[in-house]
Structure formats: structure tokens, C-alpha cells
């Protein structure tokens, strides 16, 4: 049977950050992800803002973790080679009441240790964002705030963890957990069994369900749903800054967010739901996004929307809207990293360090590895190369001279590399997340059939077997009449 010191359940940004952290120590660790790829739960339904930490109430768990996590990002981005931009954040006030709120946030931010915060006036805002609504009066400016691509970060964490010995297993939903008499846990998935001494529960919206498998009923969870939309890269007058309105009680409000790849995201709404699988878009939500962003940028062209998507923030009920990161008082060795709602992306690196400390306190011996490699090479990105480098690459590997995705200029070489990457991409969406093929304005209309053909060829499968994402999402269903081939 497969024994590990620690099994992490859940391969989102939280679980992979924990895997990355634990891979620095002489431990045997496995990560089990129920989905066909990592980073496809709450992690992919996310705007990617690394919140600097002026929001959480000082003294809360969130407050401690958020600032520390956000501060880790610039170095992590260098070591793990993921994209990061530093657009800063405006939290915009439109009234006197808003100004009071901004001052309050400023105070929170200073207490929480956020650097370089300032309240700025309309003129200063407009210098940076000339398209800003004339009703905007003042803003809390957080110049250190960064934006990342959350699933790229999760992939980077997972790949580096794997290179340092962590097993990353996808399509492994945990169906049963037993605490054996020897103190170890026995875990079942539909086709495998594992044993381990410690479990880290990073199962996102399903953390309470996973806990229940181990007989733990400490908390209940519900998702807080958010609609988001993506605007074309070629939009004119793109915002340079992440811009939020003054926040409401449960949400930071509808923001426009410049992305790592030059798109603009508008997000997110916030609605508590019962259904943990309802990653749907709702018409009123989409309208609220358009109306919301127009309050900040009245001229933003809604015709530049290329996609809508949605995410579910995992909320632990009756927990003051805070994270729930602790060892279970009833089942020893079971650590929760639950309720990782916003600012989950910012917090992930610090959550990983906290979980490491909780494991240490729980008796796990943490001995640093001498041969730990903190660096990760990313896949070649054709468009980032100079003309001469592109030419040389094609001479060596002609597949880099075949453009598959015209909107994002993605080559066949990049797609093949992703399919055979450290965390292999075996679905259309997994390819999209790693290479951006299908991410552009035609949304795969021109390249989907090409990507399917490459996947089928490289994996030795029929085109009919290729899935969009989860099992059961096949894109084709057999040969046409007389077209069998």
C-alpha cells in the first residue's frame, strides 16, 4: 500500500502551495486532486489579484496571513517562473461616507503591515487612469499590489513540488477516510488506497465533505458565487490599475483587473449559494458586472467581452468570514486549510507556512532537504522570444513553426510540450491554461479541432476520447455516416 507522511487533499492553489512548502523537507508527501487537472476548482474561477492586505480586520487569521503571503509573491514569481504584474490597486470613493471607509481601510492596512498605502485625490487618480469616472473623488492607493494568473501559480507550485519529490495525482477523489488503530489514516479513491500519518484538507468548497469522511463535523461550508468576465486584449484605453469601488460587507465590489496576459477581467459578484457545483453564470450577475465596471470606467466597451466565467469562494459558515486553518481537536493529525475565500491567492504561500508549522506542532519531524531545488523552468513561450531565437528554435524543432492558435500565437511545439509536461495536460482546457491556445478572442473556434488532433496523436487516443475538462466532457461523438476512418 502507498504510505506517505502527509497526504494533501485538494490541488488548488492552497493545496499546491502546501505541497510546494512541504517539498522542502525530508518527508513523503502526496497530493490527491479529484479533478482531471490541478487548479480547476475555486482557483480557476478567480480574478488573480494578490490582495495586499488592507481588507482583513486586524487581529484576524486572514490579516496575519494575507500580508505575509502577498509579500512572498515577487520572489516566488522569480523562483518558479510564473507571470506577475504590479498594477497596484485603487479602492475608489465616490462620497464622504466612502472617504471615511477608505480612511478606515488605510488604518487597517497600516496595522496589518501593508507598505506604501496612501489616500490620493481625483487628480492623482486621473493622471494614471484618464478614463476614470468623473464621479470618483478619492482612492486608497496600494502601489505594491500585484496580479498573477492563479492557475499558472498552482501549476508552478505543483511542478516544483513534484520535481522535489511530492507525488501529484489527479482524478483521485477521496471517497473514504479511516483512522486506523495504529494512528495512521487509510484513504480510498475509486481505484487506489493510500495510508498516511497526517492529512491536510485543502479541498476548497468540499473541505467540510472531506472532513466528514474522517468523522469531523466542526464546520459547514457554503460557496459564495461570483460571476466574472474577460475582455479582449485589443480593447482601447485598457486600465493599468486594479480598480475597486469602496467595498460592501461581504465583497470587495466589482473591479476591473488588468491581467498578466494583457486582457482585462471584470469581477466579481458575490451571492451565497447552496450548490457547490454551480459554477454557472447568471444573467443578473453579468449585468451587475457591466453596470459595476461602468461606475468606474463609464466608457468601457462591453462589446469587447470574449468570455464569461464564474467561481465559488469556499466559505466556512459562522466563522466571521475568516479562514479555518487548524488541526482538528477531535481527530489528531488532520489539519484543515479550509474556508480559503478571498484573499486566498494572496494568502496561499503563508497558509502553506502555517500548515507546515501546524504539522510540526502535531509531531511531524521537519528536516530540510539538502538537495531542495527552489527553481522551476517554465515551458517555452514562443511569443516571448526574439525573432532570432524563434528562428533558431524552429530550425531545431519545426513544430514551433506551426501556429495552432492564431489569436494567441501558440505553436504546436508549445502544445506538445504541455501535453508531456511535468504535470501533463491531457484535456483541451489543461492545454489552454498552460499555453493559452483557445484563450483568445475566437475562443477556440479556429484551433479546437487542431488541438484535439494533437492531443489524440500524442496520447494515442481517438479524437472522440478527448475531453474539454472533467470526465464526461468529450467534444466529439463518433464518425459521420460513411466517414469512418
Amino acid at each position: 500500500m502507498n504510505y506517505y507522511d502527509v497526504i494533501i487533499i485538494g490541488g488548488g492553489i492552497t493545496g499546491t502551495a502546501i505541497a510546494h512548502e512541504l517539498s522542502k523537507y525530508k518527508l513523503t508527501v502526496a497530493l490527491l486532486e479529484r479533478g482531471s487537472d490541478i487548479g480547476i476548482g475555486a482557483t480557476k474561477g478567480n480574478g488573480g489579484v494578490v490582495h495586499p492586505g488592507y481588507d482583513p480586520t486586524p487581529g484576524s487569521l486572514k490579516a496575519k496571513i494575507n500580508v505575509c503571503g502577498a509579500n512572498r509573491y515577487p520572489q516566488l514569481a522569480r523562483d518558479l517562473n510564473f507571470g506577475i504584474i504590479n498594477p497596484g490597486i485603487f479602492v475608489i470613493g465616490f462620497s464622504d461616507a466612502d472617504e471615511a471607509m477608505l480612511k478606515h481601510k488605510l488604518e487597517f492596512g497600516i496595522k496589518n503591515g501593508v507598505k506604501d498605502l496612501a489616500i490620493i485625490d481625483a487628480g492623482q487618480m486621473r493622471n494614471r487612469e484618464p478614463q476614470l469616472a468623473t464621479t470618483a473623488r478619492h482612492a486608497l492607493y496600494a502601489p505594491t499590489a500585484t496580479v498573477v494568473d492563479p492557475f499558472e501559480v498552482a501549476i508552478a507550485f505543483a511542478e516544483n513540488a513534484k520535481a522535489n519529490g511530492v507525488e501529484i495525482l489527479t482524478s483521485q477523489p477521496v471517497t473514504a477516510i479511516k483512522k486506523r488503530t495504529d494512528g495512521n489514516f487509510l484513504l480510498n479513491t475509486p481505484d487506489q488506497q493510500f495510508t498516511c500519518t497526517y492529512i491536510v484538507n485543502a479541498a476548497g468548497n468540499h473541505a467540510d465533505d472531506v472532513a466528514r469522511l474522517a468523522g469531523i463535523a466542526e464546520y459547514q461550508m457554503k460557496p459564495r458565487h461570483g460571476d466574472l468576465l474577460v475582455l479582449d486584449k485589443d480593447m482601447v484605453n485598457k486600465p493599468k490599475t486594479v480598480m475597486f469601488p469602496c467595498p460592501g460587507p461581504d465583497t470587495k465590489g466589482i473591479a476591473c483587473i488588468p491581467t498578466v496576459h494583457g486582457n482585462t477581467i471584470v469581477g466579481s459578484t458575490a451571492t451565497m449559494l447552496d450548490d457547490k457545483e454551480a459554477v454557472n453564470n447568471y444573467a443578473p450577475g453579468i449585468q451587475a458586472l457591466i453596470d459595476g465596471v461602468h461606475k468606474i470606467l463609464p466608457e468601457l466597451d462591453a462589446a469587447k467581452i470574449i468570455r464569461t466565467f464564474a467561481g465559488l469562494r469556499p466559505v466556512v459558515l459562522d466563522n466571521n468570514n475568516d479562514f479555518y486553518i487548524a488541526e482538528s481537536p477531535t481527530v489528531k493529525g488532520f489539519i484543515h486549510a479550509a474556508g480559503i475565500q478571498s484573499p486566498g491567492v494572496a494568502s496561499a504561500p503563508a497558509i502553506a507556512e502555517l500548515v507546515r508549522d501546524l504539522l510540526d506542532n502535531a509531531g511531524l519531524e521537519m528536516v530540510p532537504k539538502a538537495d531542495y531545488n527552489p527553481y522551476r523552468e517554465k515551458l517555452t513561450v514562443f511569443t516571448e522570444l526574439s525573432l532570432a531565437e524563434q528562428d533558431a528554435l524552429i530550425n531545431e524543432h519545426p513544430a514551433y513553426g506551426r501556429i495552432v492558435c492564431r489569436c494567441e500565437t501558440v505553436t504546436e511545439g508549445e502544445i506538445i510540450a504541455a501535453i508531456h509536461g511535468a504535470i501533463p495536460a491531457h484535456t483541451l482546457d489543461a492545454i489552454k491554461r498552460r499555453t493559452r491556445a483557445g484563450m483568445g478572442r475566437c475562443q477556440g473556434g479556429f484551433c479546437q479541432y487542431k488541438v484535439i488532433a494533437i492531443l489524440a496523436r500524442e496520447l494515442g487516443l481517438s479524437a472522440d476520447a478527448i475531453c474539454l475538462e472533467d470526465a464526461g466532457s468529450q467534444l466529439l461523438c463518433g464518425a459521420v455516416k460513411g466517414g469512418a476512418k
Binding site: 453564470n281 525573432l387 524563434q390 528562428d391 513553426g401 475538462e469 467534444l475
Partner: protein
């Protein structure tokens, strides 16, 4: 890295690109076509139905047949064709950077013809709510799967939008044994050509539901159903008409958008009404020596019209390139042309061209489409209140591209300070 030099480089080897290249070549220019796919012909290759060529060749052809006639002409010419080659940058000075599996290419061109075609509008563009499962795809992609890849996208199909590709696919999927449950159109009229409604829907008993749209996408990981509902005259959903239809595939035929990202790189200005370049009567953009034709300029109804337009662009590009060469060798100064705007008026969505060089030297054709169907109306061309062309009373449909030919003598009293030339289609009451 390869460095190449041509009088005219045509970007795109579909029907527009081939026709433009052939004409430019005929005028004595050295010509290259750069095509991103592995064969010439563009989207015609997957349009295996007939109905092409009726006006240009006076015979009914399939898409591949129509394409082949041009492919053969290109083969018989000394036009250089670069297949599997993608242009990744186009500079205002006509420097083209392209890539293929032999490496990077840099091409210098005296003139450039943009002929990159268009793409389909997607689910995101119209923001259909619901889940995001497999089974939702554009009609053109479905056409590729069925006609070229020999694969079925599903078994029970709902089609949103009554664009021509959607109508053609309704018939095609039915012939291939799939069940097409209906075509749903938000507008109170069909967007496709009348002949396609007749031949592709009516003849196969496929219902067309007007003023009806898809309001929800249901099922995950694969599509299981769509919710449809009628809309009122303001396009607001009428709640009590919501109805769930079990299906495994939703095809979208909701419009086409000219692909001008490359054009914009070169500094070409676009016409917000067409999403294509702003051109004059020679199909010249506002960047000297860059011309546009076919669906990259504006979405056409018939390929025959694409061919005619492209021939004009190819000719103009060759004339430009050869004159520039001569001008450089003779040290002639470039001439400055005066232009006047042509703008769409009452009931007209857009015009091509959108500007006119004055005084006009030769007859010009103004193409336009109406915004809504009109049973009895007449085209009126005027500057301010002065009417200088009035057409016959006829029916107009948005699906049909209309053309008016004007002679220089009708236009030669125009001057630069005039108000724009306005093209209106006015309803005529009985």
C-alpha cells in the same frame, strides 16, 4: 531567417486573397500569398454545399469547386504561395513578419492586400448564462468537424442564430443522421439568405423560432439541455415562455466579425460599423499602400461578391506598388488626394467604401446593408438635402448586400468641404 521582396503581398489565401493576387499578378506585379492553413481556399474548403458561383461563373458550384477554379489559376501563374505560414506582425512600413516550419520570414512589400477573412462570434460575446460544458460550439467549427474531420459533434442539436452557416449546418447535420431540433433567432426576422431558409430548414421540416433565444445552458460536464424563451419587441425575455429542450449540442450562428488585429498593428483605422478597415473607392485603407477586401473588410453574403471586390483591391494594389516604384525612380512627389466621407443614413447599417476620392475618375460602387427588413423602400444618395441618386422601390433585407453604381458625372460637382455623402434607404408608403 528568410528575407523576401514582392510588389504585392496578399495576406490570406481564401477566395478574396486568391482573386486579389491573380489580378495584381495580371497587372504585372510580383505577388506572394501567405496562407496560414495547409491549402488555399480558406473556409470554402469546408463549405461542401452548392450555391457558389452563380453570378461570377454563371454556374452552380460547391465551395471546394469554386475554390479549385482559383487554386488552379494561382498554380498556373508565377504567384509565390506560402502555405502553413502565419503572419505575426505587419508594420506600417509594409514589413511583414511571418512564421512557418522552415523558420521566420521577413517580407518587404510595395503594397499589401489584407484578406484574412472573419471569425465567428462566440458564446462569450453574447454572454449566454448557464454552465460551461462540452457541447457548445460555433456553427463553422461544427462544419469543420463534420465536413473535413468526419466527426459528429453530437446527436441532438439546437441551433442559436439564423446566420447562413447555421442554416447550412441544420441541413448538413440532418443529412448526416443527427437530429436538429430547431433554429432559434433573437430577431423577429431570419439573418440568413431566403434561399437557405427555404432549402435548409423548410425542406427538412426544421422549425425556425423567431424572437426566441437561448436563456440558459444546462448540464455539466456535457451539455444536457438548453432553456429557450421568447423575447418582446425590446428583446426582454418573456418569463412564461421559458421552455427546456433536452439536447447534447448547441451550435451558435450568431454573426461574424472581420479579423483585423493584424490590420490594427499596421496602424490601419477601422470602421466601427463594419469592424473592417475604413477604405476609399479603391479599397485603400488609411495606411498608404495597404488595401483590404473580402470578409476582413466587411462580412459578405456571397463569395461571388467577395471575388469581385478582391479583384478590385488586387488591381489597385498592383497599380499602387508599380506607380510607387516608378515614382521613386523618377523622384516624383507623392500626390495628396482630397476625400469626402460616405456615411450610412436612414435604415442603413454601413457602406463600403466609407470615403471617396474627389473628383472621382471612374464609376464607383457603393455596397451597403439595411439594418432591418423593409418591404417597400428606395435607396437615396444625397449630400445634405441635395439628392443625386434615387433607386427603384424594392424590398430590402439585412441578409442581402446591396450595391449602387455611380458615375463620375453624377459626382463631379462634389468638393472637399461638402457634407458627407449619405446613403439612406427610405420606406415608401403605399
Amino acid at each position: 531567417m528568410k528575407q523576401l521582396d514582392y510588389d504585392v503581398v496578399v495576406i490570406g489565401g481564401g477566395p478574396a486573397g486568391m482573386a486579389a493576387a491573380l489580378k495584381a499578378n495580371e497587372k504585372g506585379a510580383t505577388v506572394a500569398i501567405i496562407e496560414r492553413n495547409d491549402e488555399l481556399g480558406g473556409i470554402l474548403n469546408q463549405c461542401i454545399h452548392s450555391g457558389f458561383g452563380l453570378s461570377y461563373f454563371k454556374q452552380e458550384l460547391t465551395g471546394p469547386e469554386y475554390a479549385e477554379l482559383f487554386i488552379n489559376r494561382v498554380k498556373d501563374s508565377d504567384i509565390d504561395v506560402y502555405l502553413n505560414t502565419m503572419v505575426i506582425d505587419l508594420a506600417p512600413d509594409h514589413r511583414i513578419t511571418a512564421v512557418n516550419q522552415d523558420g521566420m520570414l521577413v517580407l518587404a512589400a510595395g503594397a499589401i492586400v489584407l484578406a484574412m477573412g472573419c471569425r465567428e462570434r462566440t458564446r462569450g460575446a453574447i454572454k449566454i448564462p448557464g454552465s460551461r460544458p462540452a457541447g457548445v460550439l460555433t456553427a463553422g467549427l461544427a462544419q469543420r468537424y463534420v465536413n473535413i474531420e468526419n466527426r459528429k459533434p453530437g446527436e441532438r442539436i439546437v441551433i442559436l442564430g439564423s446566420g447562413d452557416i447555421g442554416l447550412i449546418m441544420a441541413r448538413r447535420l440532418t443529412l448526416e443522421g443527427m437530429q436538429v431540433l430547431g433554429v432559434y433567432e433573437l430577431m423577429p426576422y431570419a439573418n440568413g439568405l431566403y434561399r437557405n431558409i427555404k432549402n435548409c430548414l423548410d425542406d427538412f421540416d426544421i422549425p425556425l423560432h423567431l424572437s426566441t433565444t437561448v436563456t440558459n445552458i444546462i448540464g455539466y460536464p456535457h451539455l444536457e439541455a438548453v432553456e429557450v424563451a421568447k423575447v418582446d419587441e425590446n428583446f426582454a425575455v418573456i418569463d412564461e415562455t421559458r421552455e427546456v429542450i433536452a439536447c447534447d449540442t448547441l451550435l451558435l450562428s450568431i454573426g461574424l466579425i472581420p479579423e483585423n488585429e493584424l490590420s490594427q498593428n499596421s496602424g490601419v483605422s477601422l470602421n466601427p460599423r463594419t469592424n473592417g478597415p475604413l477604405v476609399d473607392e479603391e479599397l485603400a485603407t488609411d495606411q498608404p499602400g495597404i488595401f483590404a477586401c473580402g470578409n476582413v473588410l466587411h462580412v459578405h453574403d456571397l463569395v461571388d461578391n467577395v471575388t469581385l471586390e478582391a479583384e478590385q483591391a488586387g488591381t489597385a494594389a498592383a497599380v499602387y506598388a508599380l506607380e510607387q516604384k516608378a515614382a521613386v525612380s523618377e523622384n516624383r512627389p507623392a500626390e495628396n488626394k482630397a476625400t469626402i466621407t460616405i456615411s450610412p443614413g436612414e435604415n442603413v447599417g454601413y457602406t463600403v467604401p466609407a470615403k471617396l476620392t474627389i473628383p472621382p475618375q471612374k464609376p464607383i460602387r457603393i455596397l451597403f446593408r439595411v439594418r432591418t427588413p423593409l418591404d417597400q423602400a428606395a435607396v437615396v444618395i444625397h449630400t445634405g438635402t441635395e439628392i443625386f441618386y434615387q433607386g427603384k422601390v424594392q424590398a430590402y433585407k439585412p441578409s442581402v448586400m446591396e450595391a449602387v453604381a455611380l458615375h463620375p458625372e453624377e459626382l463631379n460637382r462634389l468638393n472637399e468641404s461638402d457634407e458627407p455623402i449619405t446613403v439612406s434607404v427610405r420606406e415608401v408608403k403605399k
